[in-house]
Amino acid sequence: MSTPVAVAEPAANPAGPRRAGRLTGFMPLIALVALVLALAIADSDFLTTRSLTAALRTAAPLIVLAAGATLVVLCGGIDLSIAALASLSTVLLALWLPDLGGLATPVVILAATAIGAVQGVAHVLLRIPSFIVTLGGMSILSAVALVVSGAGTVRVVDDTPVKWLELYVGGYVPMSAAVAIIVVAVIAVVLKVTPLQSWVSATGYSESAARLAGTPVDLVKIAAFCVSGACAGLAAVMLVSRQYSGGPTMADNLLLPAVAAIVVGGTAITGGHGSVWRSLAGALVVTLLRVGLPIVGVPSAYEQILYGVIIVVCVALTLDWSKVSIIK
């Protein structure tokens, strides 16, 4: 006999959840196609190479950020520090480019990975919820970015080392978008062909069961934070290559879109269920909404309202109620 609050009843209808699951699996793709069609109808210039490549270039950093954070969400946590970490990384990259040249890119990504690792270790060893660790991390990293940048934009005079991201693959596909898709593919494939998929899912669905099955839960979680950090670093490189500068708040407005991309993709915020492919689709949907709002005449000031609504609605649609006994 337990406390009277919650009585979890197993699902009675075996066909129901599966069909619903299949449907939500295609939702991000359906939304993506619908958006492209709607935008094409609203603006006859939308389906041109120029505006499509522009949209892809805008989407690239978001795709990378969302893909990394998806791993943390799959493990049942959340990484709120990604945008602040990316901002800091743009500053570091801009500062280091003159001295390190081409080496600056890998060094910044490594630094971001290390910062992700520190947060992961703090979360695992100190047993602090990831939400709190990364909320604190976000604040700390923002402040560090302000301090090292002198609270201003750091211009990049010679951007040749990151110029390659501005190239086009086959003349049409922006290099940054290609890199973003490769990152998603690599993460997805590594998960799929190794035991990592099992470990990540088990950790996300039921950490206690995973632990008692001898799964390396702590290592998996720390690794997820490392990947999330590395992706934030890579996103920063993309941002610098586009803006020819680093700024202490440059990526800050990407946090909400990144979380929105994850939940729009249908990855469960409670962990376990989802994939990085879904986040790729989610990131494209979010980017198109962002690009499309001005086209249909909505001032971009309303963007934040949209993200807020998207996140709440999508979580409501994908939440696994059986796992949540008490809503806090």
Binding site: M1, E9, S198
Partner: protein
């Protein structure tokens, strides 16, 4: 029948299914007015589900509940309260940082709240009225977390008695395991209280301690496998009689496959534990030979569950050593235990034993990843043939190996959880924490058969059984734990089994 003779509460043919298990299978129950009715039954007999149904926390699939002869549907705790049925929960439901008065009136504030504001004088008076009913001297304005456990229980009873105001009838008060954490003096006070309650209420009393049940109750109803199997007047009855009704007479057939019990060699023990101590146990010595099944029995709070978890590294041990095949192992993580060939089947199968949404195949290979991998990569064909082999070998009924494990029945889920430790082929010691909990009789029998087979192949087993009968039926040797220590060891060979009562003597 006049209203005065109507039963206060009557249950007819109550049925509740959970996937793979019938928790209630047509229970009948009568609670007369002004009587204390005891409810006895082993774990899994359906007591908890029945009580939950009576206070509206569980909706039964079939059957009726009558309050004073009138059929009622109880869909929530509030509806149950409106019909005069209230429960004192085993784990207390008081809010610790509120005063006793606030807790007593929580959810039924009545006149103590006017225009959304507390009226402390009224609240105090109303709470005092409740406390007076049970003759308690607790200060209504004391903070709940400053009270002793026994006092908090009194507050809880006073709170439950508020339902009198709603139903205009003598209420039915359900006490679920109220004595499990009380000292003996406190128990005496509680029993005096229960006898007092009888003057103006009916009481349903649930306890694992049969002597208590007989002491305080007028009548006892015994549940077994979700059915009411009998009823005895408490006066003149003895615990032994009740116990026999609880476990039924299944001793005659070979439910536990005793003829398949393996012969245990006397070589070096597979598992050897010396002086293991932890939060709730100390100085545990334990040897288990290859092929031997050792059962640890003890009442709730004896610490046996924690010992089992400590052997797997899931519960910290503060002192002592554990050796497997003579090699000392550091068991501070479940990973190390797995690597040493130890497997653990947790009691909470749905939460700890399996990952519900993951497939049968992924659940089965979760621990022994090597068994399905080629180098660092998963080999799908290897996994498929391995999993299919074990599905066939254990006759696991599942549509496909890719079906989510949560769609299987309880018995089949448990077989997958067991298979997880077997697919690697390196299992040496199995720790089974209530492996048959919530399983129906057929599934239990299959789990028992599997345990015998594993023992025959040299696997050592530590079993925390769901019932004493199961412990005796399965074990070669039984350790009795009481209050964190092993108090005695009883040989339990096939053909020379001890009686449950011999063990109960040591347990309490």
């Amino acid at each position: 029948m006049s209203v005065a003779e109507m039963p206060a509460l009557e249950v007819r043919g109550l049925v509740k299914h959970y996937p793979g298990v019938k928790a209630l299978d047509g229970v009948d129950l009568v609670v007369r007015q002004h009587e204390v009715l005891g409810l006895a039954g082993e774990n899994g007999a359906g007591k908890s589900t029945l009580l939950k149904a009576l206070v509206g926390l569980v909706t039964p699939d079939a059957g009726e509940i009558y309050v004073r002869g009138e059929a009622v549907k109880l869909r929530s705790v509030v509806e149950a309260a409106n019909h005069g049925i209230g429960m004192v929960f085993q784990e207390q439901s008081l809010v610790p940082n509120l005063t006793a008065a606030e807790n007593i009136l929580l959810g039924s504030e009545g006149a103590s709240v006017r225009r959304g504001l507390y009226r402390w004088d009224v609240m105090r008076r109303l709470a005092q009225e409740q406390l007076d009913k049970i003759g308690s001297k607790i200060d209504p304005l004391a903070r709940t977390d400053s009270l002793s456990f026994a006092d908090r229980q009194m507050v809880e009873i006073a709170k439950v008695l508020r339902i009198e105001q709603r139903s205009q009838h003598p209420p039915v008060i359900i006490l679920d395991e109220p004595t499990s954490v009380l000292e003996s003096k406190e128990i005496d006070t509680l029993f005096a209280q229960i006898r007092r309650l009888r003057e103006f209420a009916s009481v349903v009393f649930v306890s694992h301690r049969l002597d208590e049940v007989l002491d305080v109750c007028d009548r006892v109803t015994v549940l077994r496998s979700g059915q009411s199997v009998g009823e005895v007047a408490a006066a003149g009855a003895v615990p032994r009689e009740l116990h026999r009704m609880m476990i039924g007479s299944t001793g005659s057939d070979d439910h536990y496959h005793e003829n398949a019990a393996s012969v245990v060699g006397s070589e070096q023990p597979r598992l050897s534990v010396r002086g293991l101590s932890g939060k709730s146990f100390r100085g545990i010595d334990l040897d288990v030979a290859a092929g031997e099944i050792v059962s640890i029995v003890g009442v709730h709070g004896s610490g046996r569950e924690d010992v089992c978890r400590a052997l797997f590294g899931a519960e910290p041990a503060t002192a002592g050593e554990i050796r497997m095949d003579g090699r000392k192992i550091d068991l501070r993580s479940t990973r190390a235990a797995c690597a040493a060939g130890i497997g653990y089947v947790p009691a909470e199968r749905k939460i700890e034993g399996m990952v519900g949404p993951m497939s049968v195949a992924d659940n089965m290979t979760l621990t022994k990843q090597k068994a399905r991998c080629a180098g660092p990569f998963v080999a799908p064909a290897k996994q498929a043939s391995l999993v299919d082999r074990w599905i066939e070998r254990l006759s696991i009924r599942t549509p496909t190996r890719d079906t989510a494990i949560q769609r299987l029945s309880g018995g089949n889920q448990q077989k997958v959880v067991l298979a997880r430790w077997l697919v690697g082929g390196d299992i040496k010691l199995l720790l089974l924490d209530h492996p048959t909990r919530g399983l129906d009789i057929g599934a239990r029998s299959e789990v028992y058969r599997l345990m015998r087979e594993l023992a025959a192949s040299g696997v050592a087993t530590v079993l925390l059984a769901d019932s004493l009968e199961e412990a005796i039926g399965m074990a070669d040797r039984i350790l009795v734990m009481n209050d964190g220590r092993v108090v005695t060891e009883v040989a339990c060979p096939a053909g020379g089994k001890p009686s449950p009562l011999d063990l109960v003597k040591e347990m309490v």
